[in-house]
Symmetry: D2
Subunit: 370 residues, 4 copies
């Protein structure tokens, strides 16, 4: 599938960091959904770099232009095409080191795969910039989910070894946390004090010409039980497929995740009960997914975002044009940390995946006359 | 896609734990590959429960019957259908607790999704038994990969908190480790002494009516650089999609995985060099994948397998037929740990994914006349 | 996709004419549909050869075994696997002419594609026998459609140059015709006298060692308006994709089809009116599909089935083992005409396609809260 | 899949007749193919309306802008995005009759499917204008095929009941015919005198406010034997799926097509022989495809294009806003015939389908080490 993904919904992504534009085609949205361009712009703004020592000084307006699929402010049922022009490109920064594979980046692997024809400027199609298109498409999905009572958000659970406050188990409290993160255009944490420490750590790493990584944690409330498909399209399969597409994400865990390795079955299993006529779990180690199907409990998962690969320290590498060892000194404009920007990308990817599963589920239920 | 997955190759899985049979249809294999039924049987045997206090006493011969796609011992190019009859079923064990959702299992979520029409016997389609079909299909892919010099295997890196020895960084040493694990029909560890301790811990948990989980680690050597597809079909996306389909897997990480959260960019980036004219990395934190594309270094990833959900301790749950709280006492035959059985399933899923990506890559290269 | 097709539903087909078994995996059926095995057997019986000078004397019981996806007589929501064992195979008939490519068959093309590893016995995977599995899967879809008031059937509109009576324009009259064809286990015509003439023509051709072709016409009533997907999944695209998979079908036309070439726009356009509050067309040249979307008028299309390629007259061909010209004299058991058998296959393929589109549509409508 | 189609290649189409732009994303092209924008522009020009009494007076520059996937004049291996801005829109023409469903168009069916939210201006997403994007993408595929010796073209075999000259059986003669049609920016016929008569008939129909239809015939030479996939992705299935997506196409036949209905098997089968060591057929009734797989003989198929639905004669219809009968008088700019413009669209769709099958085939062969 490559650059198109989905079941009932299809998302197609295109563009290069220093090309004319990046964009997305979102197919499968029903007709009649309101398209709130202000909301999309707000989400885009969260992903946008804003300098300040935390992000690259390449700041782009990231204005989303809708080329198709929207008429009189509503979806028409045909593909919605979202395009973002690239403006603030300084390809010259890259020309200086062209041919030198940047460690941690896809320069070498793309060079092999594309036999030297890849657009190497700014990482080309492998650049984090491509996620702007995913963010725009996801924002549209998010607003549709919100109309069905489904709220989701992502916080920086850990940056440079520093933890944020945890999500609440209580669903009402968790919903309040998610709303706060969602509305916050700044650093995405539950605990502002923790966020300050994280930002200080990022600035400290930047001062050394280095970068830091961390953990992003997403939660969604309001999801009905019964979403997801066996065998191959479990909720975890669909979401991890999307999440691992985001550059820099190298790990995904649901619920207790790797913590399950240290538990016994008697600790790991979530006991069930009935509350106001509705089945509820007393713990949520499974992260809201059992057997690949949503349980109606909050969906909770974490990803690991590696430290930005572009650093200003000298690195050992190879010159792809000569196939000889070389020394690399990166210049240009780069983020010392991308978690605060990647958070909305992760939310967006999740929103697309959930709306896809919801639509699939709707088709099945309708087929059976339910 | 649900029960069918893949790009150039398609794998379709079917069956229920206590139905007539389980099976797989593997489409996209080229004509002319040798089909070594002895090799398939050997891999099936690793997944097979063999009692001994480590596994369920439901032992199945798991004889794989090939219904189509093989002629005169070679693939014909048309779909290969592999069927395994269910024989040693004791549905009566489940009838006693029918209606009681087993915590940790998909009983409740399947009940909602399928509106009460699900085959609940032994977990139905959500049973780990379904992975026998995946194992058979994967074994066929593995033998094709082996013919191209690609070797892969999975060891139990951690069980009940006890670690196995690590994989070697040196590729020749790693290949030797993988060969040893591959050929070993017993407990899949690099260090036999560590394996003994793990098995003792499993038996101890079983004695308490409890279960344990752990971490499985897969490595593959001999992969060419350049496999994998941006944006949505990165190696990590394709493999995690498959891995999260395996029941009980709740976390997947590539290379340093969650460990990246504690690193700086200067530590995380793998420096490159040239060795005998070939680009090599001096470390392999990325696990052999950069930008979603293989680097030619060994592919390394880890998953977390939750403790078996079926335990003999009393559990709090709900009766799905009455929607009332209830107490569950599981009887029947269950595994106190499934890592040693799941290891080959993980290898099989990976083999399918890698052969799919190799075939896609072959098509592209051929299109370009390379 | 090769041997798997569909959007919300997926159908996977496997098997060879002289292999162990043929079968189908049907994924995407919701849970709770009644599975009427007697109805499936009735449809299978229509496809079954029954000798009598009209069909091959290779008669197979064609008993459908359900391996998965059905529990207590209802679908479970997981893949339904239908298997039919091959019993009455006489591969010896083929061994005599092995190596000689039979004109009109896929022998030569399969030989090139599969590099000589194809299962050539009885045409292998290219045999019309494979359509038995499609018929079984389609019968299940047909019974689900019937439950929603959608009725479809296929008659032999033309055999050996002899025409059957036409379908009625009036929907009630058409429904009566379709019911009659559906219930008739014999030669599928609207006018029995026309059918007698056709059968005589088939027997006459058979007496000369020759074969005849003809035209199959399918109609469906009760379809809601609004099914089908632009741009690439129009009703015509989805159905023609399925229809051209059926061996021997070489042409597909909807409504007036090729007849449009001789019309003016003023004749071709179907005028619209309102009848009992419902939009109706005064003519149905479009065959119930406008812009790729159903109009609520009856769906009507025709296919051309080529004369059976296996004839008893001597033919000029090549010996694939020597790449030399050769003379072929076919022996064995073959049909002098397959239209009466292919009719139910065409209905079955259509039923699958329509249920797929209905399920997709249901998902969209539910997504929008309609 | 809806607006995305393909196996190894994926084509995504978007846009509306009177929206901001239409476009296509073409994914799966290998890196390194030359992108000849002049060639693309030449193909676009054939599809472009040029008035003259044969086409609508809405003439668009149809300049193709490449947003991604091309670098230094060559494909990069990542998605190629082609966008064409809509400029010469006169939505006012449509506003006058808004609400009145135009017979023969998708107005009514889209209205039902999209619940009134469809972009009705100029037919929206159902407009023939969308095929401009398909033409651009197909032109790119065509130039890649040409590099491999595969040449294809489409002529108007019949317009308003008037026939063009037939394709030659001899491959060299056919290749010369295809080259001539390909290079000809004018009316696509083999016999210029026949083309003059057709154009006169179109102008005559236009003078009466009416329109005419006809038959388009495509041929391709240079295709290797062995392309195509059983069961569901036969060459006929893949191509018909694409062809029926083109607005106004209502019939597709391969080789003798519906003519097979009047033949005996002894006439229909193509005898084989060996010529210069290569297998050849003495006739080509199968149109170059046997069992869904290419035979190495020329691929030949025909489609029927219905008369343009927009005519200037008064028509009986319904008012969708009131659900009442109404009378429609179409104004605006419309084509009295679209065959000459649709010819290149048909070639383009075919080029995409063939390159997709070639790439799939390359993957299989490479997988097997051939």
């Amino acid at each position: 599938m490559s650059n198109t993904f989905g079941g009932a919904l299809k998302l197609t992504i295109f563009g290069e960091s220093h090309g004319a534009a990046i964009g997305a085609v979102l197919d499968g949205l029903a007709a009649g959904h309101l398209v709130d361009e202000t909301y999309i712009a707000f989400q885009m703004d969260k992903r946008r770099a804003r300098g300040g020592g935390l992000s690259t000084t390449r700041t782009e307006a990231d204005k989303v232009k809708i080329l198709s699929g929207v008429f009189n402010g509503r979806t028409t049922g045909t593909p919605v095409t979202l395009v973002i022009e690239n403006q603030n490109t300084r390809s010259g920064d890259y020309a200086k080191t062209a041919g030198l594979a940047r460690p941690g980046h896809a320069d070498y692997t793309a060079h092999v795969k594309y036999a030297g024809f890849e657009d190497w400027r700014g990482g080309g199609h492998f650049s984090g910039r491509i996620t702007a298109a995913l963010t725009a498409a996801g924002a549209l999905c998010q607003s549709i989910l919100a109309g069905q009572g489904i709220l989701l958000a992502t916080h920086a659970a850990r940056v440079a070894g520093l933890p944020d406050a945890p999500y609440a188990f209580d669903e009402a409290a968790l919903r309040a946390q998610l709303e706060a993160v969602e509305k916050n255009p700044g650093f995405p944490v539950l605990d502002e004090a923790a966020g300050e420490k994280m930002q200080a750590a990022i600035r400290a790493a930047a001062a050394e010409g280095d970068s830091v990584g961390g953990i992003l944690e997403t939660a969604a409330v309001g999801l009905p039980a019964g979403l997801g498909q066996p065998f191959f399209d479990s909720v975890e399969s669909e979401l991890s497929h999307l999440l691992f597409s985001i550059p820099a994400i190298k790990a995904v865990e649901f619920g207790a995740g790797f913590g399950f390795a240290e538990m016994k079955g008697s600790e790991a299993n979530d006991p069930l009960t009935v509350e106001n006529g509705r089945v509820k779990a007393l713990t949520n180690h499974c992260g809201g997914v059992n057997g690949g199907i949503t349980s109606g409990m909050p969906l909770v998962f974490r990803t690991c975002v590696r430290p930005t690969s572009s650093i200003y320290k000298q690195q050992q590498t190879v010159d792809l044009s000569t196939n000889e060892p070389a020394t690399l000194q990166i210049h240009g404009r780069h983020d010392p940390c991308i978690l605060h920007r990647a958070a909305i990308v992760q939310t967006a990817a999740t929103a697309f995946g959930l709306l896809d599963l919801l639509t699939q589920n709707g088709g099945e239920q309708r087929q059976a006359g339910r």
